[in-house]
């Protein structure tokens, strides 16, 4: 799942003939003046300026400004660019034409196991959640394309009338094309409006998720997906992602501020169960982590050091199932080096470490881990006979 920003989404809409307002994405406010000289619409339309970043609740944060002229838009862009919001910085803004309109419509499409589902409503806008009953659905089986007539029927059911229903159906058919051909997972247009001045449709806002695994067949995808965790990535997360992109296997990290139990767990399935166990026992996790697919020891070492630096942690859970092919000795070697390095830098004081693991070379790996006791680590090592997540219980009861 990869969410993409409004700018790239609008670019893909343009490609598939879905009407969008005029817009520009800028990083430097001064560029707006030059763009204004080149584009009549910037000089003559009311404008909207929005931070072009993966930041939730932009409206409340003052990162969306409406009804501006070019000078005001310049001022708004200047004020927004460079603003720090939590751990992230606004680097881009999107400046778009504000379209005078009456009705707001809702149009979306999302994939499911057997194909996809088109959703239509003539009661779009910010209140769509409250008007969810008005949404009409059209199931589209895999590899099939509904006729304009069929979509028009759905539009009529959704409360659109006459010519509007036909035009909405036409836009919906293009949306289906865009969805199919761009390996999208979901696209939501809210609102879809009719501009009063010339009665033309335009998608005012777009939320689009594409299948990042399909990027090998999309040469024109010049964008990067935005963070999937509801906020921009932290520096440490970014570093681990950079390592992840370079190696065989994978390493992953998500920081969860405020927690005191750090996870250094193996495998996509088991790692989630460790997080669950902490929560189920009333603890709070300081992070989510995962290494899998037999990653090189240096990558696991880097992940370990990052986790040891998390603030205020009391326990580190080095957990994992019985690996199929991840070498326990080699990956533990990376963890051990990371622990030693962190300790020499003054981390891990009063931190208890709990280990449970099995898999190729488990005996050597666990023995090496156990030897850390001799170096003054508060470390507790268990083999496969310990139920997987029970080390979490031990940690929380200690």
């Amino acid at each position: 799942m990869a969410k993409i920003l409004e700018g790239p989404a609008m670019k893909l809409f343009n490609k598939w003939g879905i009407p969008v307002p005029n817009y520009v994405v800028i990083m430097d406010p001064d560029r707006l003046a030059q763009l204004g000289e080149a584009n009549k619409w910037l000089r003559e339309s009311k404008l909207v300026v929005k931070a072009h970043e993966a930041i939730g609740g932009r409206f409340k944060l003052g990162l969306v400004k409406l009804g501006l002229n070019l000078d005001e838009a310049f001022a708004a862009a200047k004020e927004m660019i460079g603003r720090e919001i939590g751990t992230s910085v606004v680097r881009q803004v999107i400046v778009a034409e504000m379209l005078d309109h009456d009705e707001e419509y809702y149009l979306s499409i999302a994939g499911n196991r057997d194909g996809s589902e088109l959703l239509l409503s003539n009661k779009g806008g910010v209140d769509i959640e409250d008007n969810w009953d008005s949404v009409k659905r059209l199931f589209i089986p895999l590899d099939e394309t509904p006729t304009i007539e069929r979509i028009t029927e759905s539009a009529l059911e959704a409360g659109f009338t006459g010519e509007i229903a036909e035009r909405v159906a036409k836009i919906a058919s293009r949306l289906i094309l865009c969805f199919d051909n761009e390996d999208a997972q979901s696209i939501e247009i809210n609102p879809l409006v009719i501009r009063k001045s010339d009665m033309r449709f335009a998608a005012l806002d777009a939320v689009m998720n594409v299948d990042w695994d399909a990027r090998f067949r999309h040469a024109d995808w010049d964008f990067k997906p935005v963070s999937e965790i509801g906020r921009p990535f932290t520096e440490a997360e970014q570093q681990i992602m950079d390592i992840d992109a370079r190696i065989k296997g994978s390493v992953k990290l998500v920081e969860v501020p405020g927690g005191d139990i750090a996870l250094l767990t193996a495998g996509g399935g088991a790692s989630v169960f460790y997080s669950d166990a902490v929560v189920a026992r009333g603890g709070s996790i300081a992070n989510y982590a995962e290494y899998s697919g037999d990653p090189p020891d240096w990558a696991v070492e880097a992940l370990t050091e990052t986790i040891c630096r998390l603030p205020n942690i009391k326990h580190i859970i080095v957990g994992g199932a019985i690996a199929n092919f991840t070498d326990v000795k080699a990956t533990f070697n990376g963890i051990i080096n990371g622990f030693r390095e962190s300790k020499s830098k003054g981390y891990l004081e009063n931190v208890k470490i709990w280990v449970r693991r099995g898999g190729p070379n488990e005996n050597q790996g666990l023995a090496a881990m156990k030897k850390l006791q001799e170096e003054g680590f508060d470390i507790h090592v268990y083999d496969r006979s310990m139920p997987m997540t029970d080390i979490v219980d031990l940690a929380l009861n200690s």
């Binding site: 965790i229 969860v256 929560v279």
Partner: protein
């Protein structure tokens, strides 16, 4: 009995190195349960025609790599199962081809990162064909005692620990690969082991769902209970709950669902497998899945750790009710032992292998090369130079400062003597003919011999002989040389003479005698010889080869190593000439006719062959 894979399964692996590794693991299982090789063929166009070595225990098998599935099937019509290991961009096409083969009933995809659209299309296609498409991102399928597809089950030791050599009573279905292995272990530790285990993969749209496999297990009389390990996202677990609760089922259901932690995490913060994404309004949340499963009558412990107890409880109940009859445990000692490799046996000191070669100078088995025991980096750090490495590798000694300096200077003054000499000229001709560096340098190198550069070794050798056998008798030495060898190597020069001395010789001799305190018996002896020979003829001076040879003998280098200095030094020059010619884009050269005296027969007719 079992599901999906059994004694009759014969597989083709589509893909490269990951598939080969899986085939090796699968053959270990074949050995454990004493069945024929499961993997009968590979399909991987880049390696078409190669044979891959697969050991089933101690028995070496060669498995052919084919360029197409069609060719693999033509020669191996017994294949009924395909494993897809090929990269995500080609996985769809490969799986579809496999589904098109009449005899292939099961296609399981190990490849990760396959686009959802492709997985969805494959699922639909398989359903239409009445076949099973498992995965993507599946670690594999295991049927205890019968068949292993993929690396599921891990290393050989683990196969035994999980009782996979004989069937048990539990079925296993998981999304995660690591947890499939964990679940098999739990079933062996707390029950009697598994019948079959399937990893369906953690993608958003697995090719085959829990319900399909639950139904298969329900139809398999040997399976008495099933362990399902699911996670947040999608609705496969809810469907499984619905299936289980719909009517009275023969099998007991135990489940664990990952992702409950996401209830308390900041909104939108999601992680885990690609498919582990909660939908709108809590649809697909771990909590809703757990509730659905519990309501349907499945046993769902609070944490994963609780699975051990749950499995044990079900096992004991099934035993008490007589559904599972206790079987005597197999004696572990009766199980085959994987033959160790030569390296492993040697490590344990149980076999003696006579080495093929012996080395006394260097060792690169550790973290960095060691020269006669010294770490290369430590030599660098402590200020040693290339001269010292030569001393170590050629003579196994660290030279003193003065000795190093001499070695360095010898190499410096011998590195190149212009393009006209045989060696450099040979390299230049080769460079002009467009030959690559190593070969062009070798062309120059082949010139080194009795007439070019080869005198160093012999000079050193014979002057050393003189020092030993004729210490105070130069005429005696010269006589012996005349009778047994001929002209004294290292004495005489074509153009230089007493009046026109060789500056390099003068320089070297002066440096060694005046600026160092080295003991130089051989050099001193050669200089005495020179006094006698130059009295006879002006140009019978000690030449540079002789000087170098004597000094190196005095430095205690073995006499047969001495030519090495010339070879090493000139290599620098020859490489330089090759680079120089290439920089200038030199053209092919041939000798002008006027540089050749054609001392040949006149043109004449070839006689008829008799």
């Amino acid at each position: 009995m079992s599901i999906l894979a059994n004694k009759d399964t014969r597989a083709v692996i589509i893909g490269g190195v990951a598939g080969l590794n899986a085939a090796k693991r699968m053959a270990q299982f074949d050995f454990l349960v004493n069945r024929p090789l499961t993997v009968q063929a590979f399909v991987y166009p880049p390696e078409e025609g190669q044979q891959k070595e697969i050991y089933r225990g101690g028995e070496l098998n060669n498995v052919t790599v084919y360029g197409s599935l069609e060719n693999a099937l033509a020669e191996n019509p017994q294949i009924n199962t395909a494993l897809i290991y090929i990269g995500a961009s080609r996985a769809y096409q490969s799986a579809k081809e496999a589904l098109d083969v009449k005899g292939i009933k099961l296609v399981t995809m190990i490849t990760e990162g396959v686009p959802e659209k492709d997985a969805k299309a494959l699922r639909k296609y398989a359903l239409e064909q009445g076949k099973i498409f498992n995965g993507p991102s599946s670690i594999g399928i295991m049927t205890a005692g019968e068949c292993r597809l993929g690396v599921i089950g891990g290393e050989f030791k683990n196969l035994k620990l999980c009782n996979l050599y004989r069937p048990g009573s539990f079925g296993v279905i998981t999304k995660s690969g690591g947890l499939s292995n964990e679940a098999m272990w739990l079933c062996a530790q707390n029950g009697d082991g598994i019948t079959s285990a399937v990893a369906i993969g953690g993608d958003a749209y697995p090719g085959t769902d829990f319900v399909t496999y639950l139904q298969m297990f329900e139809n398999d009389p040997e399976t008495k209970a099933v362990v399902v390990i699911g996670e947040v996202g999608g609705t496969l677990e809810e469907e499984a709950a619905e299936w289980y609760g719909r009517e009275k089922r023969r099998i007991k259901l135990i489940a664990s669902i990952g992702g409950t932690c996401q209830d308390v995490l900041p909104q939108g913060m999601k992680f885990g497998h690609a498919g582990a994404k909660e939908g709108k309004k809590g649809l697909g949340s771990a909590r809703s899945k757990i509730n659905a499963l519990r309501e349907a009558g499945a046993l769902v412990p609070d944490t994963f750790g609780g699975l051990s107890k749950a499995i044990k409880q079900v096992y004991l109940e099934l035993q008490a009710s007589g559904v599972i009859k206790p079987e005597p445990e197999l004696d572990e000692k009766l199980l085959p032992v994987l033959p160790p490799s030569v390296q492993e046996v040697m490590k344990q000191g149980e076999v003696i292998v006579e080495p093929l070669i012996r080395t006394t100078i260097s060792d690169d088995r550790g973290e960095e090369p060691r020269y006669v025991g010294y770490a290369a980096s430590e030599l660098c750090e402590k200020g040693y130079g290339i001269e010292d490495v030569i001393g170590l590798l050629w003579n196994k000694k660290l030279p003193s400062k003065a000795e190093s300096e001499i070695i360095k200077r010898i190499i410096m003054i011998s590195a190149d003597h212009g393009p006209a000499v045989s060696g450099a000229f040979g390299s230049i001709i080769a460079a002009c003919a467009g030959i690559d560096l190593p070969q062009a340098v070798s062309a120059g190198m082949t010139m080194i011999g009795p007439r070019f550069g080869g005198a160093v070794t012999n000079a050193g050798k014979y002057f050393k002989y003189g020092v030993k056998e004729y210490p105070n008798d130069i005429p005696g030495f010269l006589n012996w040389m005349k009778e047994n060898v001929g002209p004294v190597p290292g004495i005489g020069h074509r153009v230089k003479s007493l009046k026109n001395p060789d500056k390099r010789v003068k320089y070297l001799v002066e440096y060694v005698t005046n600026q160092t305190t080295l003991h130089t018996p051989c050099l001193n002896y050669a200089l005495e010889v020179e006094k006698v020979t130059t009295a006879k003829k002006d140009n019978l001076i000690l030449n540079v080869d002789g000087t170098i040879g004597c000094i190196l003998v005095d430095l205690d280098f073995p006499e047969y190593s001495l030519n090495g200095f010339f070879v090493l030094a000139r290599t620098i020059g020859m490489i330089g000439h090759w680079i120089d010619q290439n920089n200038q884009n030199a053209r092919l050269i041939r000798l002008y006719d006027y540089l050749i005296n054609y001392a040949v027969k006149e043109e004449r007719e070839v006689p008829e062959k008799k």
